[in-house]
């Protein structure tokens, strides 16, 4: 497999500029001759649809919901990074680049990350122009706060609803193009297969979820912006409809899957309350600007938190990581929470929680200030738990949140299938083995607003594309495959629901490939998953009929893909015999329990190549070279 990353030559700070100049263009009159399919309408998909339509391409956008604005990005809370240095605290493009490379534990491509940092500045400008109501100071200028893994204040926000406001900005830009008839919005559509003609991505097969109709759509290029696959774990902070089907089916058509085992466990989520739990709710990392994380020094201390005196509390993040304190990066903060709970010092009934305490901040700044910054998060916490966080500390525990892995893409965001571009969380590209807070929104918008307009033109301008429509045999075959898959699931008529099997998968994944993994747990997982797959294909129950709205059928299709992807994650985790970022192999840790990388053997991306039904995928590698940021052991002490 050819894994040419296509990193442009030149100094890191000039690569993107040079590349933009050297890329092929499509002249304005010709753009209207090209058509592009965009799947997914989160930040990446909505911004790509808007920016490509503005340029004059004909865009067809597939949206799984009734409205594009319901996409998962809407739920992002805390903020978006940009190297504006408005605070005069020493920030720069280079520092954001540096922090992101280091935060990712040296498992991301330098060139991509530098481009991301460059674009960050333009994103804020564009969002402001679109009418995004970012938080402001009294003087009318934009406000900032801090996020983990950084010592500067570079995070822009709109209360605790930053994702919502950024998505509404991108959605409005896209709806303007719907109005202008440059974007054809196909809502209620779920993509179920990718269609290749002569080895190039030329269309998709999708299901109209309202009518059950299977449709074919052809285009000159396809863009997947379908988000992450955290829901493999069943319980995660992702929206319930977030799924891996689009990227998984593309993988089966030949797109390599990069670093599938790199998942992010977020340290501050509301703990599980019962078996019926359907998802986990994030409490934004921004809370760690003012909240202090602690557990009792003594694990048997069962007093209510306000009765535990200061000197009997262990503010363990401040103790172990004095220079970053409560704002240590996510992987580190999550593991630290796990360690104190494993030591028996967790709090609450299940003892799987730690305190996030605002008492000191409320005393210092007063309740109105805290309410102004986090009011909606506090309210959300109270609605879910029935407890008032202004009075008692929040109880939090780590939960699956984000997937750094995804389809492998080159510098142009093109997968190993020509014409298939992958944007946002769906690709593997910029966050290495751990993503810093407030960087996903930045990446989604960078990819959609600023990268793809250049790189797609380069593809269209330099590729010979025959005329293809949906009468082509490749569409007929793909469509027949999708129909067979659906009727196969409908006809199992067993006794288990898709959710039941999904919960089982989630528990297996969390126990064996979660916050800590090792050879034994991963081998066990690799034994269990095939059994679960058999159970799925022999005992699934989908009532009703496939030719109507059938949410059980939708769920089942996604679970089938999650099971297969879960197996690949386990294999990837097993083969990566080192710890890095969110991938923590218990066999590879330093004396003080930090991740121990092995740069000799694993300073590379693992890109898995599908080999066919029932065959083990092949592991290819793309070497990572660090020319600008010296490979070093990460330290936040």
């Amino acid at each position: 497999m050819n894994l040419d990353s296509k990193i442009p030559s030149g100094h890191i700070s000039e690569k993107w500029t040079n590349h933009q100049f050297e890329s092929k263009l499509v002249n304005p009159a010709n753009r209207r001759k090209f058509s592009v399919i965009v799947v997914g309408t989160g930040l990446a998909g909505a911004s790509a649809s808007a920016s490509l339509a503005e340029l004059g391409y004909n865009v067809k956008t597939l949206c799984i919901h009734d409205s594009p604005r319901r996409a998962h990005s809407i739920a992002a809370q805390g903020g978006i990074n940009a190297a504006k240095n408005y605070q005069n605290d020493g920030d720069s493009v280079y520092r954001l680049f540096y922090d992101t490379i280091k935060g990712g534990d040296f498992r991301a491509r330098e060139a991509n990350v530098h481009r991301l940092a460059e674009n960050s500045v333009k994103i804020i400008d564009h969002c402001v122009a679109l009418g995004v109501p970012f938080a402001r100071e009294y003087g009318g200028l934009l406000a900032n706060r801090s996020f983990g893994g950084a010592q500067v204040s570079r995070t822009f926000y709109a209360r605790g609803q930053t994702g919502q406001q950024l998505l509404l900005g991108a959605y409005s830009a896209m709806m303007r193009q719907v109005d202008a008839k440059k974007v054809e919005l196909l809502n209620f559509r779920e993509m179920l297969d990718l269609v290749l003609v002569d080895g190039k991505a030329r269309g998709v097969i999708c299901r109209n979820v309202l009518t059950g109709e299977i449709e074919s759509h052809a285009a000159d290029a396809v863009i997947l912006a379908t988000g992450g696959y955290g829901n493999v774990f069943y319980l995660s902070t992702n929206a319930k409809w977030s799924n891996a089907t689009a990227i998984w089916r593309a993988h089966k058509r030949g797109a390599a899957f990069g670093n599938p085992c790199f998942t992010q466990i977020h340290p501050t989520c509301i703990p599980v309350s019962g078996d019926y739990q359907s998802k986990l709710t994030l409490m934004s990392e921004s809370l760690r600007n003012d909240g202090r994380v602690w557990v009792p020094k003594n694990g048997t201390d069962a007093r209510s938190p306000d009765l535990i005196p200061e000197d009997e509390r262990d503010y363990y993040l401040e103790r172990i990581y004095p220079s970053f304190g409560n704002l240590a990066p996510r992987d580190i903060a999550s593991r630290a929470a796990k360690f104190v709970c494993d030591e028996g010092r967790g709090v609450g009934n299940t003892k799987l929680a730690v305190y996030l305490d605002f008492a000191a901040a409320i005393k210092r700044d007063g309740r109105p200030v805290i309410e102004g910054k986090y009011g909606n998060l506090f309210q959300m916490y109270e609605k879910i738990t029935g407890e008032n966080p202004y009075k008692v500390p929040m109880r939090i525990y780590p939960a699956v949140h984000y997937t750094m892995g995804g389809l492998w893409v080159d510098y142009n965001l093109q997968s190993t299938i020509p014409g298939l571009h992958v944007l946002g969380e769906a690709n593997f590209s910029d966050h290495g083995a751990n993503r810093l807070g407030a960087s996903a929104l930045m990446q989604g918008l960078s990819d959609g607003y600023f990268v793809i307009p250049t790189t797609l033109a380069n593809y269209l301008g330099s590729t010979k594309l025959d005329k293809v429509d949906v009468s082509h045999q490749a569409f007929k075959d793909a469509r027949a495959g999708v129909e067979q898959g659906i009727s196969r699931m409908m006809n199992i008529k067993g006794g288990k629901t898709a959710d039941e099997l999904h919960r089982k998968l989630g528990k297996l994944m969390w126990d064996n490939c979660g916050m800590a993994r090792n050879e034994q747990s991963l081998n066990k997982l690799l034994e269990e998953i095939p059994k679960l797959r058999d159970e799925f294909w022999n005992d699934l129950r989908i009532p009703g009929d496939a030719a109507t709205l059938n949410q059980e059928l939708e769920r089942a299709g996604r679970v089938a893909d999650f099971i297969e992807l879960g197996e690949l994650m386990a294999r990837d985790a097993l083969e990566r015999r080192e710890s890095c970022g969110g991938h923590f192999r218990t066999e590879f840790q330093t004396q003080d329990n930090e991740a121990q990388r092995d740069d000799e053997k694993f300073c590379h991306v693992a890109a898995w190549e599908y080999q066919g039904e029932g065959k083990a995928a092949k592991r290819n590698t793309e070497a990572l070279n660090f020319e600008y940021v010296k490979l070093a052991t990460r330290s936040y002490k």
Partner: protein
């Protein structure tokens, strides 16, 4: 673990609207759930019900949901006659069973409005709201043309007001709550957000007239200022936005250049 009600479970009687599709009649069907935890969300209770139905080979109750955090605007149930149920400022997905008591009977229906045809059970089609957005709920600025983010200072008060309006999640509760089935609160929230900000000024007249006209073209009723919309809004969008849209619309009619009702130019 969250909450302290672990040991206590409740028996809940549900009367749920079942309707196979837009064309056939629907009706309320009775279900009883025996061990509902007070810490469950309203939708988690439906998950439990659905799991039982599927196991019996019956079709589960179709309902829309995604984020389950009160932000995507997917969930939409009328609970005991109120869109999103009894708790103010709360979406269906954020309503928890601790708001109910053991033995309660709860009636659950879809968001009803002429403009929201029922697709199946509790799922309706709310795409009319998107068509209103497409008619002008944006600032015309193409990617790559923006000045520095701090080039235009915007006072904190104005930014906060714009944000209050922008918090709308397009769930349609305002429409379902309105006796006339009007979408005025929804439209006014978008118009207000952009009318308050300097970025929205250039298109102010065009935006409000086109959005209002599109609303009229869909099956929404007219606003008679009863205020039930704001009372039902899970994001507590205020009726003052309706006063603002009325001013904006009057301005457009008096001073605007948008005289023709064209939604397609």
């Amino acid at each position: 673990m969250a909450g302290n009600n672990n040991s206590r479970t409740m028996r809940i009687n549900l009367k749920v609207w079942r309707q196979q599709n837009e064309k056939v009649q629907g009706n309320l069907v009775d279900y009883t759930l025996d061990s509902v935890s007070p810490d469950m969300s309203f939708l988690e209770m439906f998950d439990v019900l659905n799991e039982q139905l599927v196991k019996k080979g019956e079709e589960p109750v179709a309902f829309a949901h995604d984020c389950r955090e009160g932000i995507c605007g997917s969930c939409a149930m009328v609970i005991d006659g109120e869109p999103h149920g009894p708790q103010t400022g709360t979406t269906t997905c954020q309503l928890h069973m601790r708001s109910f008591s053991d033995g309660d009977t709860i009636v659950v229906e879809p968001f009803r409005a002429k403009a929201f045809p029922v697709v199946k059970d509790l799922v309706t089609n709310r795409t009319a709201l998107d068509r209103i957005q497409a008619a002008g709920g944006y600032v015309t600025v193409s990617t790559g043309n923006a000045p520095d983010g701090n080039a235009i200072p915007i006072s904190k008060e104005i930014a906060d007001l714009a944000m209050d309006a922008a918090a709308c999640i397009q769930c349609g509760a305002c429409v379902a709550a309105c006796r006339n089935g009007s979408a005025m609160l929804f439209v006014s929230a978008k118009v207000s957000q952009l009318a308050l900000l300097p970025q929205g000024q250039a298109e102010r007249d065009r935006r409000v007239s086109r959005m209002v006209w599109q609303m009229d073209e869909e099956d929404f009723g007219s606003c008679t200022n009863m205020g039930s919309c704001a009372a039902a809004c899970p994001k507590e969008i205020k009726v003052e936005n309706i006063a603002r849209i009325n001013r904006e619309y009057a301005h457009a009619m008096l001073f605007g250049r948008v005289s023709e009702r064209v939604s397609d130019e």
